[in-house]
C-alpha cells in the first residue's frame, strides 16, 4: 500500500496500527462471544445485541448523548462563530482579555473545569440534570469553535469586508454574504470538534449531571468499574460500525468533490 517507503518504515507503521486497532478488534470480536467471561472464545452468538436493545439504561444514555451533542454543537457553533467575528473586530487589548479567558477551559484539566462548574451549579442552587449537562458542553466546546474560526478570519483579506460595504452591503449583509462563506471551513471544523468532544465527553458530564440523566461515557465507566457484560462490546461494535460508515460516506463525498474539482481544472 505504501509505495516508496523502506521496509522498516512499513513495519513500523504496521506495528503502530496494530497497537491502535487491536483493542477495537478485541471489542468487536467478543461482542459475538457466547461466554460472558471475556478472554475465552466459546462460540458465536448475537444475544448480547439482543440484550443491548432491551437495556433501557443504555438506550436512555444513548438518547441523552445524541441529543446533548446535537444541541450543544448547534449552539456552540453559532455562538462561537458570532463571538469570533465580534472578537476579530475589537482592539488587540480586548481580544487578548477575551481569548485568555477563552483559553481557560482548553488548557485547564477537564476535571478542574468540571468541578468548578459543578460548584457553580450547586452554589446557585440549580438542580443538575440534562440542562446543566448541555450548558456545560456548550461551555467547553465554544472555545474550540472560536479557536478554529478566528485564524480563518485573520487569514481573510481585511479588504473583503470593505469591498462588500463599498459595493453597497450593510455590515450585517457583509457578514452574511462575505465573512461567513469565507470562514466556512473554520466553522465546519469547529462544528466537528464540538460534536466529537460532546459525544466523547466523560469527565465534565460525570460531574454535571444527576438524577438518572447520564450519557454513554458515564454508563460505560460505571459498567467497566464493575464486572462487565459483553453488552458493552455490542455497543462498542455498533459505534465502530457507525464511525466507519460515517468516514466512508465523508470519503465518498470528498472524492466526488475532488473529481469535480479536477474536471474544472482541466477545463482551463
Amino acid at each position: 500500500m505504501v509505495k516508496g517507503l523502506k521496509l522498516q518504515h512499513k513495519i513500523y507503521l504496521g506495528l503502530m496500527f496494530l497497537f491502535l486497532y487491536a483493542p477495537i478488534f478485541v471489542l468487536v470480536l467478543y461482542s459475538f462471544n457466547e461466554s460472558e467471561a471475556m478472554g475465552r472464545w466459546t462460540g458465536f452468538t448475537l444475544k448480547w445485541y439482543n440484550e443491548l436493545f432491551r437495556n433501557d439504561t443504555i438506550k436512555n444514555a444513548f438518547y441523552y448523548t445524541i441529543v446533548c451533542a446535537i444541541i450543544s454543537t448547534i449552539v456552540s457553533t453559532i455562538f462561537g462563530t458570532v463571538a469570533a467575528i465580534g472578537i476579530y473586530y475589537h482592539k488587540k487589548r480586548v481580544q487578548d482579555y477575551v481569548l485568555n479567558v477563552n483559553y481557560l477551559p482548553v488548557i485547564n484539566p477537564d476535571i478542574v473545569t468540571a468541578v468548578s462548574l459543578m460548584i457553580l451549579y450547586i452554589s446557585v442552587g440549580i438542580q443538575r440534570g440534562f440542562t446543566t449537562m448541555v450548558l456545560a458542553h456548550i461551555m467547553f466546546s465554544t472555545p474550540y469553535v472560536i479557536l478554529s474560526v478566528l485564524p480563518r478570519l485573520q487569514a481573510m483579506d481585511p479588504n473583503l469586508i470593505d469591498a462588500a460595504q463599498d459595493l453597497g452591503a450593510t455590515p450585517l449583509q457583509a457578514v452574511r454574504k462575505v465573512i461567513i462563506p469565507e470562514i466556512m471551513p473554520g466553522i465546519v471544523s469547529g462544528m466537528l470538534i464540538a460534536f466529537t468532544m460532546s459525544i466523547d465527553d466523560f469527565v465534565i458530564s460525570y460531574f454535571n449531571t444527576s438524577g438518572g440523566v447520564t450519557n454513554l461515557s458515564i454508563e460505560i465507566f460505571n459498567m467497566a468499574k464493575r464486572r462487565v457484560k459483553p453488552t458493552v462490546n455490542a455497543l462498542a461494535t455498533i459505534m465502530v460500525a457507525v464511525v466507519v460508515m460515517f468516514v466512508f460516506i465523508i470519503n465518498r463525498i470528498g472524492s466526488k468533490k475532488k473529481i469535480e474539482y479536477r474536471l474544472k481544472e482541466e477545463e482551463k
Binding site: I24, F79, H90, V115
Partner: protein, 266 residues
Amino acid sequence: MNRTIKSFLYPYAIWIAIMIVIPFFLIFFYSITQSRPDSPAIFRFTLKHYREFFKTENINILSKSVLLAVETTVLCLLLGYPAAWIIAKTKANVQNVILLLFILPMWINMLLRTYAWQVILGRTGILYTDAAVVIGMIYNFIPFMVLPIYTAITKIDKSLIEAANDLGANSKEAFLKVVFPLSMPGVVTGIVMVFLPAVSSFAIPRLLGGGQYVLIGNLIEKQFYLLNNWNFGSAISVILMILILISMRFMKKSGEMGGKGGAIPW
C-alpha cells in the same frame, strides 16, 4: 461604523463571565475557606487545605501523577515522532488515508477503548499496575503527539532540505540539522497536548489501575463524590492548575525558541 459587528462579542463576554470566570473564582474561594458544618453561609479564611495537601501521602500522589504523565509523554514522543516523520514522507494521497486511520480510533469512545485494554491486559497479567495505566494513556494520547509533529514536518519548505543537501549534508545530517529543529513547534504542541490530559486523567487510572489506585485526578474526584470535602478538593484543583500553568509557561518558552506558533492538527 462596525459597531454592529463589534456587539457580536457581548453575549459571549457575559457567558464566559458566568460560566468560566465565576467558577474559576469559586474554586479559588473554596480552597481558602472553611465553613461551619451546620451553616454553610458562615465561613472563615484558612490555608489549612493547602497545608493538608503537603502531607506526605498527598505529595506522593502528586509526584506519582507527574511521573506517570512524564513517562507517558516521553514514550509518546519516542514512538510518535518516527511515525509522524514516516507519514510525512509518504505520497499525498496515501498520506490522507494513513492520517484518517490514525484519527479513526479517536472517534470511538475513549472509555470503550480503555475498557478494551482491560480485557487485553487482563490476559497478560499486568492489569492494575503502573505499566497498565501508562499503556492506556499512551494509547489514548499518542495521536495528539503524532498529528502536531506531522503538521510541523509537512510545513517545512522542501527547498530547505535541498539547500542542506546542496551545502553538503547527507540525509541524516539534513534531518538532524534542518528537519528536527524546524519540527520543534510541533513537538512542543504535542508534549503539551499529551502531558495535560495525562497528568489529570482519572478515568484511565481508575479502569486500568483498579479501584484503589489513586492519581491526582482520582484524589479530586474522591473529595467531591465520596468525602464531600469541597474545600480540600478545590485546593488540589488550584494546585493542579498552577502546576499546569507553570509547565505551559515553560513549554511556551522552549516553543518560542523552536519557532513561532504551535501546530494544532485541526
